[in-house]
Each structure stands twice: as C-alpha cells, then as structure tokens.
Symmetry: C2
Subunit: 232 residues, 2 copies
Amino acid sequence: MTVIEIRPVPGIGEVEPGDDLVAMILDSVTADGWGIENRDIVVVTHKVISKQEGRIVAIPDEDAYRELVEDESVRIVRRRGNLVIAQTVHGFICANAAVDRSNIAAGLALLLPIDPDRSAHRLRTLIERRTGASIAVVITDTFGRPWRRGLVDVAIGISGLPSILDLRGTTDAHGNELNVTEVAIVDEIAAAADLVMGKADQIPVAVVRGLDLRGEGRATDLVRPPDEDLFR
Amino acid sequence: MTVIEIRPVPGIGEVEPGDDLVAMILDSVTADGWGIENRDIVVVTHKVISKQEGRIVAIPDEDAYRELVEDESVRIVRRRGNLVIAQTVHGFICANAAVDRSNIAAGLALLLPIDPDRSAHRLRTLIERRTGASIAVVITDTFGRPWRRGLVDVAIGISGLPSILDLRGTTDAHGNELNVTEVAIVDEIAAAADLVMGKADQIPVAVVRGLDLRGEGRATDLVRPPDEDLFR
C-alpha cells in the first residue's frame, strides 16, 4: 500500500512563446533534489503550455474580450449578464470558453492549446527522452461546476493515463456490482495537484508520485456525448 | 514548500451500526506506523459513517428502491429512464438522491448521514480527544457531473476546514485580479483522497498530510444558491 506524494515544482518563472519548457521544468524539479522517476505524473497548468505555444491574443478592451469568447465558443450553453458558459472546439464546457485573462499581462488573453492531448503527449515524450523515465502528463484548467460553488482543476489534456478508470463488472465485498463504475481518475489527479499549485503562487507544475496507473486515454474522451448529456 | 502525502488506511473492515469507528480508524492508522499528527486531514467515505449511524434501509425489490430515491429527493432535477438526478435534503444534487446499493449487503441501501457536517465534526472531536492532535475531517461521496464523463469524489461533510478558498481581491504576478476567485478546496481534497481509496478495495479512509489549511466551513456552503444556479 503506497503513499501518494504530490510535490509542487516552483521556480519555473514566466514562460514565453517558444521557451524550452521541458528544460525549465526539469531544472526546477532537479534543483529540488526530487528529480523525475518512472511512473511519475507531471501535472501542468495549461497556462504555461498555452504561453509556450504562443496561444496569446491581444484584447484591447472589454468588447474585444467578449468577441474572443464568442469566437472560441462552438456552442453557448448558458448566458447571464457577463457570464457565458460555452463549449469549446475541444468539447469542454466552461466559463468564457476558457479564455483566460489572469496570469498574463493586462491587455492579453490566453487560449487553450489547440490540441491539449497532443501537447501532453509532446511534453511527455520530451521529458521521457531527457530523463529516461517512463512518465505520464496531465494538463489542467480550472472549471466551475453547476450546483456546487467554487472551482476545481480538471484534466484537459493527458498522455500515458487512462481517461476513465472503468470498474464495470467489478463487485464489492458483498458481491454487488459497483454502482460507481467509471471514475474520472485524471480529473482527480488534476484536483489533487492543484492542492500544491496555488492560483496566485505561480507554481504551474506538480509531480504526483506513487500512483501506479498506465493507459493511453485522451482528455477529450471525458467529454460527455450529447445523447448522454442531460444538461445541454 | 511541503510535499502533500496521501495515505490509504486499510484494514478497517466492515462497519456495523454503533461501532466505535474512531477506534477502528485509529487502530488501522496506528498499525501502519503512521499515526495521526497535527493538521492531518482524515478523509472518510460516507459509507462507513452512514453504516455506523445506522442509515440503512431494506429495499426488497427495485420498486422499493425507486420509492426510496423519491423519498430522499426534495427536487427532481432530471429524469431519464432509470436515472434520476435529484436534490437531497442537504441540497446536494446527484444521481438517485445519493441512495447507495453498493458496498452493502444485497437487499439493503445506504442513505447519506442526516447531517454530514455534524458527523464530520463529531468524528473530528473524538479523534482529537483520543490523539491530542488538532485535525480536520472530510466526509466524501462519489458524484457524477454534467458534461464530463466519469465520477469524482466530493466533500459532503467537513470540519476544521474552509469550504471555499476565497481568493477574491488577490492579484497575480502581473497585477491582474485573479479570475479564479473561489476554489472548492475540500472537493479537491476529496478527489485527491479517492486516488488511494479505490471503489472496490474497501479502503474507506485516507489521511492527507502536508496541507496547512484551517477553517470552520461547512460542506453545505458548497451548495450553489438557486439564484446563482443556471442549471436547475
């Protein structure tokens, strides 16, 4: 029975388009004496991925921001005052189509990576190449939820993990089939990592160690198909 | 910068109404050599709390189950086939009004504790009295989410923690006010703890160590008020 450890990776600093993010992460994690081991899960907020990929848009004024949110939305799910709940091209449903104005200079906004699963895969491959370790990557964003106050981090891009832990057909100690059958394990990893990240602390990376989980899912698998979605 | 550790507490075994759950938890956590320290967060699935509190109902057949779900619902939010999304008396919105048929003998169902925040407070007080440590408690259940496949653990009862980490007015390194202002930190703790619990493994308790967080919130604070809820 292993303990899971979640370690913040501070000191990465401001990321610019084209930066060697892998080197920045590995320098920070190594400086800390922790390094990267086999089966570590490197959890990264999308903000640094988006910056590294140059997903930055100028928004001179509030109107430009509103327009950008509409442009990034493939479907408006709800609208009230300035709040827009929208579906992004990836399928994610969140506030303002995930267009983000925090942790970036005033007058700029960050978009999600074009293909966060691919970004996760690229980051994983580069870290594996430089460390020799076999790892997984989760890229996160912070989403609100209907019915429950407050925001939580969720997975928007993954590599090296199953998207869903499928327990269908598993029985409990009483011989009942479990009624919890599909666990959104990568969202739980994202939430866990956020405990050490902090929103204002500029800790964009955490390492989760001790979770023995392998797979090749995609975060877009987590998008509920329209015919299963009772809340469109 | 501390590491957060999440440790499963196995070996608690089957809980019966009236059992000394505190002794069962402390025996298991002590047997493990880990013990309980100041600022530990003891995370417990509601199933063992509900059992200990005798929140067990006989359901001779499927009709009785359906009736029980209706009884436990104060509002039906959506219904499709056998799936009922309902609001419980506590305010939580979840499948089947949280009536649970897994991890209990066939023909029985588990209800949520009557007042999970109070259950959390009682458990915390008893653990603190027996260990001398100042701790926090989170009671969890497993909920689905609109739009995203899979289930995650959330907090349904808390003691010794803030319900929401309120970052309103905080600025980032660029001087922007954060647009992530309210973090549902106890839901993130619940999700993190689930990583070591497992659904079929009968590990109903985990200890989260390293998170320096104190408060006196209630999990019912997490229920979004009707006038803020766009998805009623």
